[in-house]
Amino acid sequence: MKKIINTPENVVDDMCRGFVLAHEKCVSLDSKYRIIYRKEINAKKVNLISGGGSGHEPSHAGFVGKGMLDGAVCGDVFASPSVMQIYNAITKLESDKGILLIVKNYTGDVMNFDGAAEMAEEDDDIHVEKVYVNDDVAVTDSLYTVGRRGVAGTVFVHKIAGAKAETGADLKDVKAVAEKVIANVRTMGFALTSCTVPAKGEPTFDIKDGDMEFGVGIHGEPGVSREKIVNAKELAKRVVGRIFEDMPVAKGADVAVLLNGLGGTPLQELYILYNEVSKILDKAGINIYFNMVGNYMTSLDMAGASVSILKLDDELKILLEAEADTPALKM
C-alpha cells in the first residue's frame, strides 16, 4: 500500500483536521463526532446534513458551505457514520425549519441515518426528513433487493436542495426538490483498478492488466461484470447507453452531466471521456445545459470514472446555477 498517511487508524481524523485547517474561514469541526459544519449556523433555514463513509473526498465535507450542505458527518473509510455521530449532527444544526438528511442508499447508511432521525425526533422534537439517493443504474432495482446504490448523483442533490434551502423554502419543499433530483438522475461507473482501503492495506479486488470492472460502486465493491478495457469512445457509449436504458431522455431535452473521477484517474482522462460523452449526447439531440468534470465522489485511489445524467426542468436549472460557495464547488 502506498499512501500519504500516518497510520490507517488515524486517516479520517487527520483528514478532517487537515480539511478544516485548509478551509477554516468557512467550516468548523466537531472532532469527537467528526462533524464538519458551516461556521455560521443559520437556524432560520432548513439545514441539510449528509455524510457517509470517508474515502469519497471531496464528498461530503467539501460541499459544506453556502448554497449546499450545512453539515457532513464523516464515517470511517467506507463505513457509514454511527447513529450517535449523525444524531449529534442533527442536534447541532437544529433549525426552526427542520433538518433534511441526504442519505446514499446503502443498508448501513440507511439504518444509521434512520436511527439517528428517530432519536432526534423522539428525544428532541426536531423535525427531520430524509431522502435516499439511489442513482446507480449498475444495480438493477428489484423488490427483492435493497435497491440501487447512491453514488455521484448525490452531488446534484446537495447542490439543488442546498440552493432551495437557501431561498428560505420550507422543509417539505426542500425535500420535494431533492426527490425530484433523485427521480431524474442516473449514474453509471467503471473502474480500471481497485482501491486500497488503508486498514486492509491491499487492493480490495485483483484485476488483470487488460481488464476493467464495469458497473462498480464507490466502495471498491466489485462491479457487475469484469470486461476487457475498451477505448474512451466505446466506454462512453456503454455507460451512456446503460443510463438511457434505465432512463430514456427525449431529443431536445436539457440535461446536466457530471463526469466524475474515482480518485486515481487524472483530469486529462476525464476530459477525454467528457469529449466522447458529449459527442454522444449531441448526436442524440440532447443539450448539455450544465456540466461538471472532476473528482467529486471518489473511491479512494481507484482509477475509473462515472457519468451522471440529470434531466432538467426550469426549477432545477435555476437552482443548479444558483450561487454556491463551498470548498469543492464555487459558482
Binding site: 463513509g53 470511517d76 448501513g108 444509521n112 449498475a138 444495480v139 433487493t145 435493497v146 466502495h219 465493491e221
Partner: protein
C-alpha cells in the same frame, strides 16, 4: 453449568471480543469478497470499546450491561454493523433487564431478542445471505436444548456453534437479498457471507 452471572457473561464477552480482534483482518477479507472490506474493522472498533466497558461496568444487572454494550456500538460503530449489533444488544438488554443470573432458557430468550432487534432495523430473514443465516439456526438449536433439563450451558453453546457453522456454510449457495452483497447479484454465489462466517467463528469460541 446451569446459570451464568454477570462475571460469567463478562468472561464470555471478553473471549468474544478477543476473537473479534484476532479475526479483524480475516473478517475484512471476507467482506472484501462480497462487500466493501470494512466489516472486521468496524466490529473490532466496537469490541475494543466493549472491552473497556466490561472493565468499567460495576452492577450485577446483565440486562444493563447488554444495553450499555448496545449504546457503545451505536456510538462507536458505523456501517450496517453499528445499527444492527447496537439494536441487537439493546434488545437483549431490554429482555434481560434487572436479571443478575440467567438460565439456559433465559439465554435462549436473550439470543432471540438479539435477532429480533436486528430484524427490526435490518428487515432480513433466513435465506437473505446475512449473519442471520448463522444466528437463527444457532438460536433454534439453543431453544431446542433449553427445553430439556439435562443440557448444560456450555454444551448448548457448542450445539449453537455447530448450527451456526452449518448455516454460514449454506450462505455460499445464496444470492444476497440484503446488504452490500446484493449489488453483486449472482456474482455473490460461491462465497459465504462475512457476517455469517463471523457468527460461526465467534460462537465456536
Amino acid at each position: 453449568m446451569k446459570t451464568l452471572n454477570i462475571s460469567d457473561i463478562k468472561g464470555i464477552m471478553n473471549i468474544t471480543a478477543d476473537t473479534v480482534l484476532e479475526n479483524e483482518k480475516h473478517f475484512c477479507d471476507l467482506d472484501a469478497v462480497t462487500g466493501d472490506g470494512d466489516f472486521g474493522m468496524t466490529l473490532a472498533k466496537g469490541f475494543k470499546v466493549i472491552k473497556v466497558e466490561l472493565g468499567n461496568f460495576d452492577s450485577e444487572d446483565i440486562g444493563g450491561l447488554m444495553k450499555a454494550i448496545g449504546m457503545s456500538m451505536l456510538e462507536t460503530c458505523g456501517g450496517a454493523t453499528g445499527s444492527l449489533w447496537g439494536a441487537g444488544f439493546r434488545a437483549m438488554g431490554k429482555d434481560a433487564k434487572g436479571k443478575s443470573e440467567v438460565s439456559l432458557v433465559d439465554i435462549s430468550e436473550m439470543v432471540k431478542a438479539f435477532i429480533q432487534g436486528m430484524q427490526k432495523v435490518g428487515g432480513a430473514v433466513v435465506g437473505d445471505k446475512t449473519l442471520l443465516d448463522a444466528l437463527i439456526p444457532a438460536a433454534e438449536a439453543m431453544a431446542e436444548d433449553s427445553k430439556s433439563e439435562d443440557v448444560d450451558i456450555a454444551a448448548a453453546f457448542k450445539h449453537a456453534g455447530e448450527a451456526a457453522a452449518v448455516g454460514a456454510e449454506k450462505t455460499k449457495d445464496m444470492i444476497a437479498k440484503k446488504g452490500r452483497a446484493t449489488y453483486l447479484g449472482k456474482r455473490s454465489l460461491g462465497n459465504p457471507d462475512a457476517g455469517a462466517e463471523a457468527i460461526s467463528i465467534l460462537l465456536r469460541k
